[in-house]
């Protein structure tokens, strides 16, 4: 690049990248932290080695040099959530999941066309509002205790009932109750408009194995075989996991609560609480998602 084309900001960032200035000096001209610096501080604050793969915890979209006005955490950066963020004056968006309808936000792998009107509208909204999306998936799960799981169990009100963990899938012991009663509690606690349940609703259950999101059918089957009365899962592949429950139910009793991938939502509230401690001078807010599903009459 010819030196005459290097503007002041480019020069500053080039110098900083070379490690010649303290990180705290990484400010936009407005005096606010840039997206690049916010991301750097988040990575540092995790205290973990940062590996963007395999779930792509990186800045997915937006200008890294934009001044950050505030941080919104969420499960999915839907357009609805982005509108709420804009209304709250927050332009650094930290979703748990992908934002552009492909699991790694990989446009080369995506089945959605580049000129898809929904995709274009979302990108335009982000650009027009100076927003940046930085995904936080693996490094949310690898926070001490798994922030996503902590949020889910707290939301269920079961934190004090934990008895043990099975490879990242905690178990709780509840007061014995009919499965239907526990299902209604799960539905209300997680703000679901519909909840699918496998098994006898009148059966009394006490122990429940819990998983968040979609850890894959191998993990789900381990959960089903963990010896608990019931399992609570997020999203499952139905022939594999629900199918296994059907086969299992041929000789043993099991109850399955399918609470949807959005059961990870409350965990991003835990992430927001943590980010408030990292950025005490910035507004930080968790923007919950509404259950996408209803049951048609």
């Amino acid at each position: 690049m010819p030196s005459s084309l290097v503007d002041r900001r480019t020069l500053i960032f080039g110098t900083l990248a070379a490690g010649l200035l303290p990180a705290g000096a990484l400010m936009a001209q407005t005096g606010q932290l840039t997206a690049r610096e916010v991301f750097r501080q988040i990575k540092a604050a995790t205290g973990q080695p940062w590996d963007p793969n395999p779930t792509d915890d990186r800045i997915i979209f937006g200008d890294r040099n934009v001044p950050v006005t505030g941080i919104a955490t969420c499960f999915l950066a839907t357009i609805e959530v982005l509108r709420k963020a804009r209304a709250a004056g927050l332009n650094y968006i930290v979703p748990h999941e992908a934002s552009f309808y492909e699991r790694y936000d990989d446009f080369a792998e995506s089945a959605v066309a580049d000129d898809d009107p929904v995709l274009i509208a979302k990108q335009r909204f982000l650009t027009e509002n100076g927003m940046v999306i930085q995904r936080l998936h693996s490094h949310a799960h690898s926070r001490p205790g798994d922030a996503i799981m902590l949020g889910l169990i707290a939301r269920l009100g079961w934190t004090g009932q934990r008895i043990e963990d099975l490879v990242g899938m905690p178990q709780v012991r509840l007061a014995p109750a009919p499965a239907r009663e526990v299902a209604l509690h799960v539905k209300a606690a997680l703000g679901r408009r519909t909840l699918r349940v496998f098994g006898d609703l009148d059966r009394t259950i006490s122990t429940v194995s819990i998983s968040a999101g979609m850890p894959g059918e191998n993990a789900h089957i381990r959960q089903l075989e963990s010896g608990t009365d019931a399992v609570l899962m997020g999203e499952v592949r139905e022939p594999e996991v629900l199918g296994y429950a059907q086969d299992m139910a041929d000789s043993r009793r099991i109850t399955v609560f399918l609470s949807g991938h959005t059961n990870e939502d409350a965990g991003m509230g835990v992430i927001a609480d943590w980010l408030k401690t990292v950025f005490p001078a910035l507004p930080v807010q968790w923007l919950p998602i509404v259950d996408p599903y209803t049951t048609p009459a």
């Binding site: 509208a121 909840l195 699918r196 349940v197 979609m214 075989e225 594999e240 086969d247």
Partner: protein, 288 residues
């Protein structure tokens, strides 16, 4: 005359139902990070699934049971009916392609033991196929709710599209509920929305990348067994948010295969010298 074997039945099906409709033409390399989620929740877009997945296909066939999913209960029924060949539309061995499992978990081990001890052979048959009889099986669900023929020229492995008038999402959902053994539909969108065009995802045991079906300008309702919630559900939420009149109806991947299993059993029955039964495989979900 040599006895008819299970493999002979499979050969008849392959011939009469036609070749598989490949979703992607050409070479289908595995997606870049296809194995990132242990257990293979995602699989390569072009992967086909049909074939014998358990048992000895060379044995003489005594009778055939056709089912949406060969659950352990269905296998017991097959034995009771004296049928040693089971045709399963959906996956039945623990992953979407019914690949061998190195260390089968207890319920799967029990199932495999039952198959071996009782001399059953299980054929997976789900890939959409291109001959008229194959198309009739792929189109069984739309036909069950009164839709005659899909738009011509589309690859049935990518989906089926129908144009409709006078229907709402809710009225179509009611018809689908009557046709499928499930009580647990999930809807994203407005039940009162008039439906101009609806698409059926035909391969929803591999449910990634369904958004393009709903992105079509002539489609405003997508019916699928299940989807990847962070992809297709997210797309529909955003489409609705920008004012598009779109909806997504999830009917269950096992339940969705029931009309196909019924149609296949009815087609096969007069063509074989042995009994052919359809056994229901209800998913047993409640909506609370």
């Amino acid at each position: 005359m040599p006895a008819l074997t299970c493999d002979d039945v499979s050969a008849l099906l392959r011939t009469e139902l036609g070749p598989e409709a490949h979703r992607h033409l050409g070479i289908d390399a595995p997606a870049k990070r296809d194995t990132a989620i242990p257990g293979g929740s995602y699989r390569a877009p072009g992967a086909l699934v049909d074939g014998f997945r358990a048992g000895d296909a060379d044995q003489p066939v005594t009778g055939v049971v056709v089912t949406a999913r060969a659950s352990t209960k269905v296998l017991h029924r097959a034995k009771a009916l004296g049928c040693n060949m089971v045709i399963s539309c959906q996956a039945f061995l623990g992953d979407s392609q019914d690949r061998p499992v190195a260390k089968p978990e207890p319920a799967l081990a029990e199932k495999l033991r039952f198959i071996a001890e009782n001399g059953l052979a299980v054929l997976r048959l789900q890939d959409p196929r291109l001959a008229p009889a194959g198309r009739a099986i792929t189109e069984a669900l739309p036909r069950a709710i009164g839709l005659a023929a899909p738009l011509p020229g589309l690859n049935p492995a990518a989906g089926l599209v129908y144009h409709t008038t006078g229907q709402t999402v809710g009225s179509l959902a009611a018809r689908l509920k009557a046709a499928l053994p499930t009580a647990a539909f999930r809807l994203v969108g407005n039940a009162a929305m008039p439906v101009r065009g609806l698409a059926f995802a035909t391969e929803t045991n591999r449910p990634n990348a369904l958004a393009p079906l709903l992105a079509r300008p002539d489609v405003n309702l997508l019916v699928a067994g299940e989807v990847h919630e962070t992809e297709t559900t997210a797309y529909v939420l955003d489409a609705i948010a920008i004012g598009e009149k779109k909806a997504l109806l999830l009917v269950g991947s096992i339940a969705m295969e029931e009309p196909a299993a019924l149609t296949l059993a009815a087609w096969l029955r007069p063509r074989l010298p042995v009994p052919v039964h359809h056994e229901p495989s209800p998913e047993l979900l409640h909506a609370v």
